[in-house]
Structures are given as C-alpha cells and as structure tokens.
C-alpha cells in the first residue's frame, strides 16, 4: 500500500511537469499575446470535469541537430476526449509554449490517433490550431505527419462533424487540415492563416502587408470565406463552438438532438418584414426569426458572401438548415462566392441528416466580367448539384422573386424539392418583368412614338400575366400558395410529414460535383 502511494505520487509529479507545457516563461509569452494555453482552451470548451487526456507521456522523435537532447512535454500537442453539453467529442490542441507548437512525427501521431478514435467512436473531432508549422529539424517526417492528418480529415468527411479553431498561427501546409474540415473558427488578432507569409511576400514581391491584413481573422471571415465563425475573443469563440455542437448530430447515422419546441420569441409581423415592392430590400434573417423556434438562429459565414444567408435553427425542436437569399446585400443575387457558400452548407446538412428549408427571393445571377471569368458557371452549378444530390427533406418557400436560373437553382421542384410553397407576393418568371418585356415586346416598343410609355405599359402587362405564383402553381411546380402567417405552421407540418423520408440514388463510388 505504501509503495502504491509512492507510485501515485510519482505519477502526479510527472503529470504536473508535463501540464506546465513549455514552462512559466513560455506561458507568460502566450498570455502576453492574449492567448490561453492549450489545456485552458480545452477546459473552457468542454463540460466541467469531462476532459480525459491521452498520450501525455509521448516523446518526440527528433535525432538530428541536437534535438535528441531536448525534451518537449507532450510533444507540443494536448489530445483527449470529453463532452460538450453531454455530447462526446475528441479534441486536440496544439501547445505553442512547447517548441512553438511545431509539428513533428509524434505530435502528428497523437493527432491522428485521436482522429482515428473519433471516427471509430463516431463523435465530432475538434482541432485547436496554434503552431509555428512543420518541425524543420525532423524533415520529411513532419510532412508525413501533415499528410496523415489530411488523409484522415478526408476519410472522416461526411461521417463525423469536424471543427477547427485557429487560435494562433496556422501557416503553410498546416492550413489544409482546417480547410478540409466542416467549420473553421477564427478570433480577431489571434488567428493567422496563410500559405505564404508576409516575410516571403515582402522579399519576393516587395509588398508590405501585415499578418492581420494578409490572413487575419477578419480577412478569412469576410474576404476568403475560409472561416465560418468570427469572434472577438477566445471565450466568445468557445461559446460559438458549443452552440454549433448543440445544433448538429454526433455523426452521419444520427439525427441532431431534439430539444423542447418553442414558439418564435420575436414579435414581428412576418407580412411587415417583406416589402410588397420586389425592388425594396429587407433583412431575410428577420423572416427566419419569425419562423424558427425561440427565434434562435445560428448563422454560418455571416460576413462572407452576405448576399446569401445560411445557418441552423430549430423547428418543433428539430434542427433544420436554412438557405435564404438576402435582398439587403447585392439584391440577393447568386454569384461565385454565394454559390460556394450555399452548396457547401447544403452538402453538410445532407451528410448529417438535417432537413433544408430554402427561402427564395432573388433576381438572378450577378452580372459582370469578373464573375464570368471567375467561373460563375462552374460555381453556380454547385448549387444545382448540391440540392439535386441531397436526400434529406427539402422544403422551399418563395417569398417574392424567383427568376430564371435562380428559380431552378434555389431548390425548385425540378431539383427534387419535397414541398414547394409560395407566398401570394411570389413572382415566378423566366426573368424580371423589365428584361422580359424588352425582349418579348421589342418590336412594339421600338415602333411606338413614346417608347418609354410603351415599355412601361408592356412591363405592366408582363407583370400582370407572369409576375405571380399562379402560373407555376397551375403547372403543379408549386404545391400551394400560402399566406405568410401560415409559413411556420406549414413548415412544421412539412417537416413532420417528411420525418421518415427515404430517397435513394444509384450506387456509385462518388459523384463529381463541379469543384
């Protein structure tokens, strides 16, 4: 008995040393940068007392350049398991205080081991990135480590949710693990992500750019679209992660956890949110808040491609994904970025059994040389692909405009929508009335004495004939024309009806979405 207590004492001492990571001086530096340590981050994220650490005693592999004489506690990464709101998760956090969080072979092995564990246990994997990059002294072994992580990210894709937090530098090859995961979280002044850093750019190009301007949190949240959630502090970031985890299932064989249903808490009249003039803007998120339980909506990629809104809410306690055109930004057009954003979100929902509700109000595609040359055809096609491929319940509500290619793309009946609702204000037509009238009545307009007056008259004629939901409804392309205030109850009805939905696709190795 006495011996065992001595052994326990030794274990505690060993653990205490390792838990100090790179030691006091390094921790002070980390704190000075406004950052928490790897273990603090994990403990902030997980349920209290739920963290169990793995592989504390792993030692690094470096034999060259005097590395054999150095000791790196935990080899610069903390890994383990825990829970978030009771949901099991596997987690790793790179420890910048130990050799700059640099990735050597054993560091990578700890990560791939916990990833394998997550895949086997069918629970989400969360990676916290804070690393100077490859441990150069280990040479190609470090590269091997990255490659093995990327491989597992890919294999786990669509099986378990994968979440990345960028809480420090994440540069060069290291960026590709987050890029392969489902959701990337960044924090102002802390996250730095790029392939080639400012130093190289300065040397080669002579261009002076700061890390923040090149690959800071805001840049990835607003310009590149590499990040999905943007926070002002690490604590806010952890709250966002927990909220996301509460909305999504543990794996692709489960449904998201059902919670108690609540009525929307926002007291807005849904009819007053949407102006009757189809040219006037409004915030489509207000419509979502009128529809979802407790008016609780978790927006994904809020700052990037804001002309489309995607995110999670609950209907009758069940998680649903929303895809909605945003008339307030760029008139709600589809373009390269918004198509990429919508398509990826739809594919996430489909992979993880989350029904998709589409709110449509869009005038068409963004015109411009830059769009055409950037491949808006290829990008736009992703939306068609993602909706057609999805077998989860797919419900569309056309609020106002549904013109041309946009009508087809936004989860139309023709792409397999299960329920098609339209408000009486819906305008389902091949293009906007002005454009259509200019073509159909070209001769009449040209021949008229007062061309503008004739054009106005013909636009009016077109609006009366086609700018409504009834032509599409007469073809059965719309199931029902509904009053706006019925929207929530009919969506709940549609979701209830589709709870056992089964739809099969031909067997294939995999499809070929237009990347």
């Amino acid at each position: 008995m006495a011996d065992l207590s001595k052994n326990i004492e030794t274990l505690r001492e060993k653990k205490a040393v390792i838990e100090m990571g790179g030691g006091e001086a390094a921790i002070e530096k980390q704190v000075a940068m406004g950052k928490l340590t790897a273990r603090e981050r994990i403990l902030s994220l997980l349920d209290k007392n739920s963290f169990h650490e793995y592989d504390m005693f792993v030692k690094h592999d470096g034999r060259d350049f005097g590395m054999d004489k150095k000791d790196f506690p935990g080899d610069g990464v903390v890994t383990g398991t825990g829970t978030i709101f009771g949901a099991p998760v596997c987690i790793y956090a790179q420890d910048f205080t130990v050799a700059g969080g640099s990735l050597g072979l054993q560091h990578a092995r700890k990560i791939t081991k916990i990833m394998d564990h997550a895949l086997k246990m069918k629970c989400p994997i969360i990676g916290i990135n804070d690393s100077g990059g490859a441990r150069i002294q280990e040479g190609v072994s470090a590269l091997a480590g990255y490659g093995e992580i990327f491989y597992r990210n890919t294999i786990a894709s669509g099986v378990i949710p994968q979440i990345s937090l960028i809480l420090g530098p994440c540069a060069g090859g290291a960026v590709y693990s987050p890029a392969l995961t489902d959701f990337v979280f960044v924090v102002e002044n802390i996250s730095k992500m790029f392939i080639t850093g400012p130093n190289v750019i300065k040397t080669v190009l002579g261009e002076d750019i700061s890390m923040e301007e090149l690959g800071g949190a805001r840049v990835h949240a607003e310009i590149t679209g590499n990040a999905h959630f943007y926070a002002k502090s690490e604590q806010e970031c952890f709250e966002q992660v927990k909220r996301l985890v509460s909305f999504i299932p543990w794996n692709n064989q489960e449904r998201a956890k059902n919670i108690e249903a609540k009525e929307p808490s926002v007291v807005m009249n849904i009819e007053d949110v949407v102006p009757s003039d189809p040219k006037q803007p409004y915030d489509v998120r207000d419509v979502i808040k009128c529809i979802v339980d407790d008016s609780d909506f978790l927006e994904v990629q809020e700052l990037w491609a804001a002309n489309i809104v995607v995110g999670f809410g609950r209907m009758g306690g069940e998680t649903v994904g929303f895809v909605a055109n945003q008339p307030m930004v760029l008139a709600g057009v589809l373009d390269c970025d918004s198509a990429d954003k919508a398509a990826r979100f739809i594919r996430f929902c489909d992979s993880f059994n989350i029904p998709i509700i589409t709110l449509e109000d869009m005038p068409g595609y963004l015109p411009g040389v830059d769009q055409e040359h950037a491949g808006v055809i290829r990008h736009g096609a992703k939306v068609l692909y993602a909706y057609s491929e999805a077998t989860v319940p797919k419900i569309t509500v056309i609020l106002r405009k549904a013109y041309g290619g946009g009508y087809i793309a936004m989860n139309s009946r023709h792409l397999g929508a299960d329920f098609m609702f339209a408000w009486p204000s819906a305008e389902i037509a091949v293009m906007g009335p002005e454009g259509a009238a200019n073509i159909i009545f070209r001769k009449e307009i040209m021949a008229a004495e007062d061309q503008d007056a004739m054009r106005q008259e013909k636009v009016k004629e077109y609006i009366e004939k086609f700018a409504n939901p009834y032509v599409a409804a007469s073809r059965g392309f719309i199931d029902s024309v509904i009053e706006p205030k019925e929207t929530r109850s009919l969506l709940l009805h549609a979701l209830k009806l589709s709870i056992l939905k089964e739809e099969y696709r031909p067997n294939k190795k995999h499809g070929l979405p237009p990347f």
């Binding site: 002579g206 008139a331 963004l366």
Partner: protein, 106 residues
C-alpha cells in the same frame, strides 16, 4: 435598426435597392489585353535579357530569363514584331503583372 445606405443595383434591366459588399466594390476591372504585351505572371528576378528596343523578333523567340519560384523561366515572344518597349534590367526584382516587354505585332 441603424439606417442603411442602400444604392441602386441593376439586374436584368430592373433596379433594386440594396447594399454592396466591400469585395464587390473592390472587384477587379477588366481591361482588354494588348496583343504583344509581355507581362510577368509571377514575381521574380530578371537574370538575362536577350533583346533590346528596336529588335525584330519572331513568335517563340527567347526575350529574357525570369527567375521565379526557384525556376529559370524562359519568356518568349507571343507574336512576331518589333520590340518597342523594354522595361526591365538584369537584376531587377519585378512584381506580378509587370509589363516587361511590348512587341508591336508585324
């Protein structure tokens, strides 16, 4: 809610009131490329120049060697004609999209 600065935005002949994104405002403006312009596609260093202004060159003829991305890239004439503009010297570090040479096509 704060007052938003909505602007007019035209999509298929119809004018909508909406906000613009920063990325949209800063989108690149397309310029018609001039035949005979030789532009750097990568940042790098000029290590050798084989022509001078006034020279007549043939399509495919070596104009200069541009070291970029650890490679000695051979830059050749896209068209036959006369070199009317040469804006590089050996040793120059040049940026991407730098107009290095212009050839007046024959």
């Amino acid at each position: 809610m704060e007052k938003k600065e909505y602007v007019d935005f035209v999509v298929t002949a119809r004018k909508y009131k909406t906000l613009l994104t920063e990325k949209y405002k800063q989108r690149p403006v397309w310029k018609k490329p001039l035949a005979g312009d030789v532009i750097s596609h990568l940042p790098g260093t000029i290590v050798d120049i084989k022509v001078k202004e006034g020279d007549t060159v043939e399509t495919g003829q070596l104009l200069l060697i541009h070291e970029a991305m650890k490679m000695l890239n051979h830059v050749v004439a896209p068209v036959s004609g006369v070199v009317t503009h040469l804006d590089v010297n050996v040793g120059d570090k040049i940026a991407k999209n730098h107009l290095m040479v212009h050839i007046d096509p024959k």
